[in-house]
């Protein structure tokens, strides 16, 4: 099932973005930090909410002193306790979903790379001050029992000092939460930055860093940045010096498959200190969609390379996972490493899957693959 994360209505009385939890519960005790969700606003709707979000079609007359967004197409995707940001333009964006294990904070859309398969293409505008402001408000509101939280971009390290401010805030507010930061690692080539990160001694934080080839030219081509391979590998070494927890991420496509086994060997020989290696199926979004011809490969056609790479690393005692690929496309010996990795809000299954006896073990597909951008070999298992 895919989930909506963004809706838009008409805003009244909102001058700057507002952040808060949502509730349907009139007279919530600590109502001060809540938006009230209601199908229609009437005189009974009293209390000191941050504001009201309603699907009501016309501008409410009651509660005229409170910020309101009305004419919202739906509210049903919001759960009690979800956290949203509401903009003066009437956008209601979900920042945190209480019922999900895939919550992610997007720190910036800027990036110093331009990967051919980026699912969220970078934007060259300075969004950093806004996001820093937003997350400084959000982080203290996050539930303390949040199990996992992702930080992503763009390139989060472009936040500079602010990145470390947010990290310290997370460390003190959510000491029990596993943090997973997606970065291209290039800026860690500066050893001061790696040291600064290491000095935080944030044991629940893990850096997910992509490495697409053992050969610099192919990696640099894939991320569209000269010198990126050298920077990333130097960065990995700098991070290892401070004992940082690192995951290597490899997206599988036409450019990475030919040297995949060699990349696995390179990782074991040169980067044996990494904690986890993730092999990831391609998500047909953003740039990957425009570069489909250049990149797309049916997973069935790279079974051999993937199996050899995974088995090699496993034999060496490394931890390996396979993400975003469907069970029916892989040999059984790889199943133990295949995870249900696709974030719930963009996860689908095909009609074929409805008859499949492995449906509950299978991670399914990206919603973006729905219209034919998936393997030709998806085939239900008979029970």
């Amino acid at each position: 099932m895919t989930t909506l994360l963004h809706i838009r209505g008409i805003a009244r009385g909102i001058n700057s973005p507002l952040v808060g939890r949502v509730t349907r519960n009139i007279n919530k005790e600590t109502e001060l930090s809540y938006f009230l969700l209601t199908p229609n606003v009437d005189t009974k709707t009293t209390g000191h909410y941050i504001g009201i979000l309603t699907s009501q079609q016309y501008e409410p007359t009651a509660q005229s002193g409170l910020p309101v967004v009305y004419r919202l197409a739906t509210l049903s995707h919001l759960e009690e306790g979800d956290i949203v940001v509401v903009s003066p333009e009437g956008n209601v964006n979900t920042l945190y979903r209480i019922g999900s294990r895939h919550n992610t904070l997007l720190l910036t859309e800027r990036c110093n790379s331009n990967c051919l398969m980026c699912s969220q293409p970078p934007k060259d505008r300075d969004d950093i001050p806004y996001f820093v402001w937003l997350y400084k408000k959000l982080i203290p509101m996050l539930p303390k029992d949040c199990r996992e939280l992702g930080l992503t971009g763009g390139e989060p390290m472009l936040l500079g000092d602010s990145f470390f401010e947010l990290l310290e805030l997370l460390k003190s507010e959510l000491p029990e939460t596993e943090l997973h930061i997606l970065t291209n690692g290039r800026l860690f080539a500066k050893s001061e930055l790696a040291k600064r990160y290491g000095d935080l001694n944030y044991r629940r934080s893990m850096l997910g860093i992509p490495l697409y080839s053992d050969y610099y030219q192919i990696h640099d081509h894939t991320v569209q940045a000269k010198g990126a391979f050298t920077q990333t590998v130097s960065g990995l070494y700098n991070l290892a010096k401070y004992d940082s927890r690192i995951e290597i991420r490899i997206v599988l496509h036409q450019l990475t498959i030919p040297r995949l086994v060699k990349l696995a060997q390179y990782i074991y020989k040169n980067l044996p200190f990494v904690e986890h290696i993730a092999f990831m199926g391609l998500e047909n979004m953003g740039y990957a969609r425009s570069n489909f011809e250049l990149l797309w490969m049916d997973p069935v056609d790279y079974q051999r390379e993937l199996t050899e790479s995974v088995m090699y690393l496993i034999t060496q005692g490394m931890n390996v996972s396979i993400y975003n690929i469907q069970l029916c496309l892989m040999p059984e010996e790889l199943w133990p490493f295949m995870r249900k990795s696709i974030s719930d809000w963009k996860n689908i299954y095909l009609d074929e899957c409805q008859n499949c006896s492995k449906l509950s073990d299978c991670g399914g597909l990206f919603a973006s693959s729905a219209k034919g951008a998936h393997s030709k070999f998806i085939k239900a298992f008979n029970s």
């Binding site: 331009n114 050969y215 640099d220 081509h221 010198g227 034999t315």
Partner: protein
């Protein structure tokens, strides 16, 4: 503003692969690497940290003549593996440096293994042993308590946080009261100094008793024994009154496994001349006894210390035949799913297949003498290794580092003798080894070369040590090159170590 957004557009426009090459022309730079023929078709290239590429014959020449084209897959292989570089100094040279440091980090902690020859007395008269004495005279051939004290105190001065106390003989169990004394003393000192202490007894297990086993269990002691092969072979090699060495050893192994646990009992094999005809039977025997490891050790030349080049070379050749046949048989067991590791191969393979340090006394550079091992003889004399004291039994004291009665830690470990040995203990700087493709998989052995060639540096073309290692390393590489399944088996061996 206009030009800025123009710039951004350019930045975001996709470029093709060729835009990302850093080579400024067809030329490239060579990094240090070595090469050797594997057979008539193939050769191996080995880089400075021991990573290898197996390629067709003539590749090294093509590399050196700058005939590798950027479009070739090999060009990428060579760059990624630090054989060539697009710039005079490769951009990731620090990675290479770190890896080199890691490979040599077995040196970081200095001497770990401390061998105590408790007694020369033995109730066996193995024909390949030059040291044991069948006698009741304890005073003449046992280590004194005073020497034990001094040896243990020296051991505790080692900078290594992990030290191993190993008892040898003769048959050390004949002096069990000394073991008890030494273990108690070493344990209490180790506790005070915060050192990790491992204890090993090398024994034929014939004198094993329940009391001894109980003591071993209480102190976590490892028993290392000898099994030369099936009963008739073993008993012929390892002579003893009653001709029952094999039976005693097997009984001892079983009982020790029950009391101490499987992993606390290991067996070593010595290849005597008569063993050379039984490679298959010897391997089968180890499987029959339930071992997961077998160490195919060559005949040691020290018993004879002969400087007869032809004979040495003949014996090495015979040993290599034996070794290969046994290894094939071991691989056959592995193919059938029985996990049996040959230890000598596995030491070499760890150097070939992993990025980690491998310190093995007989196959490292700088050599294991002093750096990893030191031996205290029953009479208080100190030697650079077990082989060094065997030489001493033949009136050759070249590798005597000092005397427990007279010398301090500094005299022994940093004294003139240590300096003299150190001149010849790094194969990086030995003639013949310095440009050998197998240098990083091999080692230096000044004792062997002194014993067989009369000179610590030695002369490689006639060296049995070189002949043996060069062929075993070549053979292991060739096996992996020919057969993916062997590579997979070897990978399992090294990851289990």
């Amino acid at each position: 503003m206009e030009s800025l957004s123009q710039k951004q557009k350019e930045f975001r426009a996709f470029k093709s692969l060729s835009n990302f090459s850093t080579a400024n022309n067809a030329n490239y730079y060579l990094l240090p690497f070595r090469f050797a023929a594997l057979n008539t078709e193939r050769e191996v290239l080995v880089n400075e940290v021991g990573d290898y590429l197996m390629v067709p014959q003539g590749t090294a020449q093509r590399i050196v003549e700058r005939r590798i084209k950027q479009e070739e897959e090999l060009y990428a292989d060579l760059t990624a593996n630090f054989f060539i570089s697009q710039t005079p100094v490769p951009p990731l040279i620090d990675v290479l440096a770190t890896r080199y440091r890691t490979k040599k980090s077995f040196l970081d902690d200095f001497t770990a293994l401390h061998i105590f020859v408790l007694t020369l007395r033995c109730e066996h008269t193995c024909h390949y042993c030059q040291v044991s004495r069948v006698t009741q005279d304890k005073s003449a051939f046992d280590m004194s308590y005073d020497h034990l004290d001094k040896g243990i105190e020296l051991m505790m001065q080692s900078p290594n946080p992990n030290v191993t106390l190993e008892f040898q003989g003769g048959e050390p169990l004949l002096a069990f009261e000394k073991i008890v004394y030494a273990v108690r003393k070493a344990e209490s000192l180790a506790r005070q100094l915060g050192k990790q202490l491992n204890i090993v007894i090398c024994s034929n297990l014939a004198p094993l008793t329940e009391d001894i086993l109980a003591f071993c269990r209480e102190h976590g002691i490892l028993l290392s024994t000898s099994i030369d092969g099936p009963s008739n072979l073993h008993n012929a090699n390892r002579k003893r009154l009653g001709n029952n060495s094999y039976e005693m050893a097997v009984k001892g192994i079983e009982r020790a496994r029950q009391v101490l646990g499987e992993e606390k009992v290991s067996a070593l094999m010595t290849t005597a001349s008569r063993s050379l005809d039984y490679p298959v039977e010897i391997v089968d025997e180890y499987v029959k006894l339930g071992f997961k490891n077998i160490f195919l050790r060559p005949i040691s030349p020290y018993g004879f210390a002969r400087r007869n080049v032809r004979k040495n070379s003949y014996e090495t050749e015979t040993f290599l035949k034996f070794y290969k046949r046994a290894l094939e048989h071991i691989l056959a067991y592995n193919r059938q799913g029985y996990h049996l590791v040959e230890d000598y191969a596995s030491i070499i393979l760890r150097k070939i297949l992993t990025p980690f340090p491998v310190g093995y006394v007989d196959l490292q550079s700088p050599s294991g003498l002093i750096n990893s091992v030191v031996l205290f003889n029953y009479n208080g004399k100190i030697y650079a290794s077990d082989e060094a004291r065997m030489l001493a039994e033949m009136q050759d004291d070249t590798f005597c580092l000092g005397d427990l009665n007279k010398n301090s830690y500094e005299d022994i470990f940093y004294g003139p003798k240590a300096y003299e040995i150190a001149q010849n203990w790094s194969n990086e700087s030995l003639a013949g080894c310095s440009d050998c493709a197998f240098q990083s998989y091999c080692g230096a052995d000044p004792v062997y070369h002194h014993a067989t060639q009369g000179d610590m540096a030695g002369y490689r073309p006639d060296s049995g040590f070189c002949q043996k290692n060069m062929e075993i390393i070549r053979y292991l590489l060739e096996l992996m090159d020919n057969d993916q399944e062997v590579l997979a088996i070897f990978s399992r061996w090294v990851s289990n170590c």
